[in-house]
Symmetry: none
Subunit: 204 residues, 4 copies
């Protein structure tokens, strides 16, 4: 019995390896050539498996891109960052934590997020995945906004909604992408963004 379980787990592990290899190859190609111009056959070739192994072990083309977004949902760094933010009483510190946290998560999932955003128009499934990913981050930033309102010290006239929007402006996908496109270093960018957000949100 033990033997059979061991065996079966070996098989399962091997299958999981195959799956990961394929998804990785797909991500690389999607990032390089775009979703629309990447064929499933090319993914299979890059992964070194037969064309149909892509279908049996991952699924169709859209499953390949879904696999990119799935595992980002419960990023431990993001969860931890939100936790620390909620525990903080200092608005400036909260913004710094937000900058650092988004920087770390963004850095870790840079390729996947880029693929999702860049290929939104190529396929409805990608669009859905991109929307979902955006939703997750905006929700987190909205929670940060609520905390900032609780903590106080904001410019007059700012409600939680508006604060959430400004946080998204400075720490959302587009902001980080622009920062990266400008060649800014992750840490430098985080500092600058935190400063700018502070200027926009905190009472002088």
């Amino acid at each position: 019995m033990a033997t059979r379980e061991y065996r079966s787990s070996v098989r399962a592990r091997h299958a999981e390896d195959t799956r990961r290899t394929i998804v990785d190859a797909a991500a690389a190609l999607f990032a390089e050539q775009g979703y629309a111009r990447t064929s499933v056959a090319a993914v299979a070739a890059a992964a070194g498996v037969a064309l149909n192994t892509v279908y049996t072990s991952v699924g169709g083309k859209s499953a390949l891109v879904m696999a990119l977004s799935d595992d980002g949902a419960e990023d431990p760094v993001a969860v931890e960052t939100v936790r620390r933010i909620v525990e903080s009483d200092d608005a400036g510190e909260i913004l710094r934590l937000t900058a650092e946290g988004t920087a770390r998560v963004r850095r870790a999932r840079w390729r996947a997020v880029g693929i999702l955003l860049d290929n939104r128009t190529s396929d409805p499934d990608v669009a859905a995945a991109a929307t979902a990913a955006t939703r997750v981050v905006r929700d987190r930033l909205d929670r940060v906004a609520l905390r900032l309102v609780e903590v106080g010290g904001l410019r007059p006239g700012l409600d939680a909604d508006r604060v959430g929007q400004v946080l998204w402006f400075y720490f959302g996908f587009e902001a980080w992408r622009t920062a990266r496109d400008l060649g800014w270093d992750w840490d430098e960018a985080a500092g600058w963004l935190a400063d700018q957000a502070a200027g926009a949100l905190l009472a002088p």
Copy 2:
């Protein structure tokens, strides 16, 4: 001779109409479904012409998207804005002018720019057009940056390069897109962006 010229000019005008109809239909479809998922046949159908007329009067698929970027290059509003900026001696006013100018140009070419950016990965030609469009705007902002440095009153440590980058951060495509996604009004957004850029660039 006169007759022939007249005729040919009528024909030419008619041909130009056909062309514009097709390009418009293409833009609408590209914006709605994305470049990759829009077929030339669909463009022809939407424009009410035969499939081949798309080829004879505009060109292939990439010519359709190129046509979107071409006519934006020498936008008179942009030219006028740059002229007024160069004539101004006040850094704050320069930023306000920049915000207003980019708002107006962006508003006028919103759909075309969106198509270019959103479909960069779908086709190398689109990517090239997007890069070209970006280049144009960044060049203009770099000229503004130079003027700001000339005028003076900037925070210490900022060189023209960095100023150009910050201007792109606040007035570039992504910034405006984020503002629009957040539901911000054009004028309101222009004011807010000008303020933020002032905070980032001008000595207190």
Copy 3:
């Protein structure tokens, strides 16, 4: 103008030729190997055209089989036969006319009907076409049944419904197919079927 019309009609005629060639080739292959096992590529090859010409000039695979059933709907022989039957006052003659009429129509459309019936289960579209073809013939036989009831001389206890069913039993698709499978000659079969139907329907 005349020239252009002529030209365009030449083109149209050529296109119609292409279409007919393709549909014919498809019918031959469907009859020989069955619908499911006949690929569109094989049809194209048999017709001597490019694969996609099948799509542009006829349509998808199901359009090929639909094309077989379409033109049988208003068969002039069938229409003429029904007319003569309605004008006849003799039940025996009506049955003979029915036998001859169905024989002639069946003979002319033998291959098409066979394809439709034999491939009903292979594809919903084929099933629909087969049902439609059956409907047409059964409706015609029901009209014959009504006339028989009007003319009188039937066995007691037979209503128009039942007469229509018996007519279908003797002159329907399956009856003719069985007769053909048995190697019976068309005319011989028509006579025998008319006799049998007379025995089943007419008062002695």
Copy 4:
């Protein structure tokens, strides 16, 4: 040894159960969607077994359909009916017995025969099975025809061959199928068919 035999017989019984479950599921799907449109995977799913179990316990796709025809070959009802017919001296009774016998066998194997006939064109193996099934029934009816000739009382000019053909016309697969399609009850149909066959074969 006893233990091993017991075990192996338990296993064998279990295996036979699995096989029967799979063949049943296949028959249901073939009847519902047709042979060509039923995938082996669908059969496995419907039977609640792994895809490969279909291969290990029954065989490939054509083995599934062969399994439907195999066990019908030596139907005890058919054998018994033939025996009673051969013992009878009355032509009318022979036709009644034939009608009842074919009705009972047909009723019992309705689904299997329908699958075989309806999917002849989908697969050469199915066609072969259908032909074999037809052969069996036609052979039986030919034996009945021989007996009828022996017994006498037939219309003049009918030889055994022709009698066998007429029997097939009235009691063959297509006849029963038409009767069923017309909504006729089994017993009613048997009576009517026997009457019609009598009219066609027996001297008045």
